[in-house]
Symmetry: C2
Subunit: 392 residues, 2 copies
């Protein structure tokens, strides 16, 4: 099928584009290189030496014999470019990664909050309006986040999107409803994904768009089968305080002998998934679209649940690294349970890569190999969730 990958130069977008191309799909990447520009802004760089996108694409052509098109424009700003692409190329699916995706970055300053909301909501809404106008049968697959659900502590398992509830009528009877799970975002970034959900709900209802929303856990890992095939295809690895995800940060810290930075008590429990599984999940979602007129198809894209403290202990045992418990810059519960359903993707054929199997390889393959490229000054997290935070 023809698939447009919006944000196809990013951490999840690039390996997804390669995976789908390798499967034989015809791929067009749309990207404005915002993620590389954010590195410039922050004075950071991927630990892995990522090649410029044109170099990546010619390397892929050389290695696989397959072309991936590249359109450099901003989905949140260039609506006409998006409509023109959809009209001309008539993709079967659009995979939408074109959002600012770091919670700490979204909390750095008023400008970063506003950029995240403006970019993410206009990008998503432009895609929806453009699909209605130019490609109403096209399947939209969006990368959401498990963070839309929040972390409730009342013993209720987080469902895949829709929560069955009972509500009392005026006559005192109880009726059943299945509602979109109540939103409870922990950062401006996560909030934008809760807004996206309402955009999707409306356009599925009003215009019968076919929409899949994948609520992903925290990704760990760097490479996929395709990105490993040549160093020019290597995926990005972020370890800085804004874009680095928790487990990748621990691995980097361990590799350079920096204490593992746990924010707060480390009692935060989160859902995780390996990057190789991410690209497989997107492919499974593409093979299983909803029909027009159906509600938004929501799947939880996660394979394991861990307490942050336990992850630190695991990495510490593997590598001998020390653990540093720092003040938590986020406004979140010190400790939480997390019970979530995630059966739909395994039922479609996902066979998860477990942390137990993959973690040590990741340490050797990425963190040790590239540790000479690490800038230690970029490790501390300087984004605070509230104006009253100490170092602001």
């Amino acid at each position: 099928m023809r698939v447009a990958v919006l944000g196809g130069d990013g951490f999840c977008g690039w390996p997804t584009a390669l995976h789908l191309s390798n499967q034989g799909h015809d791929i067009a990447i749309v990207d404005n290189l915002a993620r590389r520009n954010a590195d410039n802004e922050l004075g950071t760089d991927s630990l892995t030496p990522i090649a410029p996108l044109p170099v990546r694409l010619s390397a892929w052509r050389e290695i696989s014999g397959r072309d991936i098109a590249f359109h450099n424009f901003d989905v949140a700003r260039d609506y006409d470019g998006l409509v023109a692409l959809l009209r001309r190329w008539q993709p079967d699916a659009v995979v939408h990664f074109a959002e600012q995706r770091a919670a700490p970055y979204s909390m750095k300053s008023p400008w970063h909050k506003r950029y995240t909301v403006d970019n993410n909501i206009n990008a998503t809404h432009n895609v929806l309006a453009a699909l209605v106008e130019a490609a109403p049968d096209c399947h939209l697959v969006h990368l959401g986040t498990m963070g839309v659900y929040g972390y409730d502590a009342d013993g209720v398992t987080i469902p895949e999107g829709y929560l069955p509830v009972r509500v009392e009528t005026a006559e005192g009877d109880w009726v059943e409803r299945e509602i979109l799970h109540p939103a409870n975002a922990g950062s401006v970034y996560h909030m934008t994904k809760t807004l996206d959900q309402l955009l999707f709900q409306f356009y599925a209802k009003n215009d019968d768009l076919k929409i899949t929303d994948l609520h992903q856990g925290i990704v760990w890992g760097t490479q996929t089968q395709e990105t490993r095939r040549d160093e020019r295809l290597v995926n990005r690895f972020d370890y800085d305080g804004d874009y680095g995800t928790v487990l990748n940060r621990f691995l980097m810290q361990a590799a350079i002998g920096y204490p593992l930075t746990v924010h707060g008590s480390g009692g935060q429990t989160r859902a995780f998934i390996n990057l190789q599984d991410t690209v497989r999940c997107v492919a499974l979602a593409l093979e299983n679209p909803p029909q027009r007129g159906e509600r938004v198809n929501i799947l939880n894209q996660m394979t394991e649940v861990h307490r942050v403290r336990d992850l630190a202990l695991l990495v510490s045992r593997l590598t001998g690294a020390e653990i540093d418990y720092l003040e938590n810059p986020r406004r979140e519960q010190e400790s939480n349970e997390l019970n979530a359903e995630a059966r739909r993707l395994p039922d479609l054929g996902l066979q998860p890569i477990t942390l137990a199997d993959g973690l040590l390889g990741e340490v050797i393959e990425i963190a040790r190999q590239y540790r000479h490229r690490c800038d230690v000054s970029r490790i501390p997290c300087r984004s605070h969730w509230r104006a009253a935070a100490p170092d602001r």
Copy 2:
């Protein structure tokens, strides 16, 4: 108190600014005149001869002896202007009307959909980010809509914002939660107000902002005690297919001998409120702010519920007008029940103006007096809710 009224030149904003000024508050209007510009775009005009804003303000000064400041900037675009105003003037409250507020306008074209989302979400988010940065103790009062709730038909009364539900735990017990009522928007415009709710929820939780969201029914009526004091203060009256609300359209149609245009069967049941009550409700909300750290304060701002068909029959009886049943351009239920709680504002002192008391006066005061200004060609509704609609 010092109150900034964002969108203070509009249909609700202008009489609110005057009402609060008359109560002795110090008022600053922020407006980019977007509503007047939309008239230019659509080739429409208020039935009533509204004066330019500077003329309105000097007339008010002449009549009341009170100054209202005016800052002409776009809240969705000029964040720095907003922060500067908050820092310099330190208002006690901000009343936020600075959103595109017509459902048919929001559905006219991809441009109108995108403008409505971009303008409304960035306006609301700019206000929130600016309050955190410059005036965190300031009370934000926002005009929402009863349309965020949708029209469920299962016998459950719509609550004031928060719905008590029961949810089953993993152990098979049932726990009680009070959740934000599930969103069910009927247009892009209404959808933006459901997004606003999630922005408010996050900023109340993360930054302890004091926020009141007033979910208003459909407004009828034109004048308030203040706008009646001089013709230069007259409020706008919209009767066109985009901005005219249903009852005002009926009154205008009756006054000029045009058949009353009912879309579909007229079985749609909606909540209503008189404009004089709107300004009173905003004043009551300002007098009763939530405390910092409390959840968003949500009140249903409506006083009566009517079936559209019954309103047409009522106006027809009063005026002798005929009724025309037209194809419904919206995607909505042909007929619905609407049971909603609206006790909180009466409990604070609101004494509603009923349709039975006020309707005939409105016919005489506005529709008949200004009918010579009506442009009949602007009456039909040309915005369709779906791309497949006939005349698109």
